[in-house]
Symmetry: C2
Amino acid sequence: MARGRDAVRFTVHVRSASCAARLGSVETPHGAFATPAFMPVATAATMKGLTPDQIRSTGSEIILNNAYHLMLRPTAERVAHFGGSHAFMRWDRPILTDSGGFQAWSMSEGTKIREEGVEFRSFVDGARILLTPERSIEVQNLIGADIIMAFDDCPPAREPESPPSDPQLSRKRRSRPEDHRTRLVEAIDRTARWLARCVAAHGRGDQGLFGIVQGGTDLELRRRSIEQICAFDLPGFAIGGVAVGESPTEIHATVRAVAPLLPADKPRYLMGVGYERDILEAVRAGVDMFDCVLPTRNGRKGYAFTASGPLRIRNACHALDSGPIDPACDCLACAGGFSRGYLRHLFLADEMLGPTLLSIHNIRHFQRLMVDIRARIRDDAWLDLERRWPVLQGGGEGPQPEEEPPSAAHDRGSGEACGQA
Amino acid sequence: MARGRDAVRFTVHVRSASCAARLGSVETPHGAFATPAFMPVATAATMKGLTPDQIRSTGSEIILNNAYHLMLRPTAERVAHFGGSHAFMRWDRPILTDSGGFQAWSMSEGTKIREEGVEFRSFVDGARILLTPERSIEVQNLIGADIIMAFDDCPPAREPESPPSDPQLSRKRRSRPEDHRTRLVEAIDRTARWLARCVAAHGRGDQGLFGIVQGGTDLELRRRSIEQICAFDLPGFAIGGVAVGESPTEIHATVRAVAPLLPADKPRYLMGVGYERDILEAVRAGVDMFDCVLPTRNGRKGYAFTASGPLRIRNACHALDSGPIDPACDCLACAGGFSRGYLRHLFLADEMLGPTLLSIHNIRHFQRLMVDIRARIRDDAWLDLERRWPVLQGGGEGPQPEEEPPSAAHDRGSGEACGQA
């Protein structure tokens, strides 16, 4: 049995009769969280401008740290010196750390993937770093999150038909001549070999290690990966390699096919997803955990989520608006009486309080959606949900968003510190 | 009687037997505040990253807005549209607005002072703006603070012997060939004429208008200004033209001489001062109110005030320090268990939470000093104070500051938005 197998215990309380959704809870050494759960991202052991009290005010019960960022700065050893991330950042509830594999690939220059591990340049000082499965687990053991993730080989989605807008991404993709399917197979098998090394390296009984299945949008490859990964007796499993460049339709189809194949008695975690509708679709497919930087990243850029769709707070139409971002919202910004006009002023004046308040609102928006989704599972009453959240209807009857946020639609927690372009 | 004369009522509760210090309170339409009072600066109707709850947590009972910034963005008319600054920024306690005269001179290019008013270029869009006494009062009536300030002519301190480091300041000073004393006399008399226009223009009975005395470090001129300004029946008086380039010794001497000449039954406000020792000296001279951007400006730059002197949180000596900024402090950062090592990490990683937590700490530092000062006035027991606050001893026995903060030692609320150089 894998070490830390009992550190994380999942209980399903209610199963929907009409779909694969389940209402549950996950117990960890730092308390329990209700599922389906949305985990906001505190990349460098801080959720940007939010104090832990403000994070708690959003209803978030578990947050994510990025091992990649913390191992480079202040270093995992230093986080351990302060008693681990919980003590370091003063967050006494559950934490999950990503393994750093995805970030090493997506955020660094000159990355080389070998059987031994991933070699990349540190964004802090340019030093060449070799991140192996063993080192990733050591780093995560030092950081001390309740849930740690396997170190995986996460390839991008298929070669895009038109060159992507990110020149760095483009260069990396062009540098891989091999057929995308061959690359996927390689990634799947390597992820399984690396998982065995992660399991062997894992040294703490109070941290649950989750495996990650790969395979892109190819369901045959996904099945192969699931067979390999779910052979390990782990307390949870994640769907990786999603939201790395595919369309929402592809994401939904992949998740619908993959989620039911994961063990029913373990929490299923869809990494880096996503928008409201993506989350709802995945919940209906049986997914229990989500993380995404959208609430904080878009909040910092002045985009607010509402039940009717996103709005750009800098737009002139808000200048004289004394109403809240979303009248239905009970976040510190909306319930606190901060008007759209005031928030717009903060952004135009480049005042720090603007990003802080919009991030609080956006996280609370997603947590309120999760509260509603959990209630719908309990009552198996789904129709009401889309009436209350017109944004879930996508191109349907709800008001259209004023403008799309500028950031990537889907993003697997690739680290906010470097994502402020 | 000047309009709004009764909007602000001052009561002295205790007078020190050993010095001119007094313990009192000022009642305003938005509640009372204890004096001597320190007012942190919320330039653009926001105190940088702090929510109103966080400002309250520092013990601040009154805050300052800059009319200059708000008239340019979002405009005073827009603040009025939202019900004034209290409603706009969600701060329901007393607010004081500076008149904009000092900022118009110190922050803008191509400023021209004429009898009619001050002409300057907007920092928002470069438009030429004429700010007159009447317009300043109109702007402050629109913003709706409890205490508003007269529009004054505030000249710099005498020509420095060596060129100042700020080239813009240097250019402005060189462009005024007239003798400094002549300029001071002109400023004094003009400030008095402008005060008459301010009193006539003041349109709200629920705002108290404070006069400002000028005269630099020349006590004869100060007396002349006091005679002119205190002839008006106003609810409070301020000492302006201090902390505009003089040495601490000159500031202390000026304040010691000027404060006792101001009406004893009205609050005395020393504008833009200052460091801990400056405040203590002024309190002993009979000053009741202070404002300064030091706590927030230095906090944003990573400098923390402590009872023993300032520290630079980025310094390597804090890297492994699990202690708080100041063990004696009860602010959200210190009492919340945020270590020096964590705060250093936030600054090195350029994370917004760092400036927010250091600003909260620094404001609380000044408010804790004021609490102690008020207790010393009540008990007339001053010796204990310097033992508890070694920083008050200046070059004395207390630990030396690690490094001086980079910002100007004294600064009359010249606006944080533009002061981040």
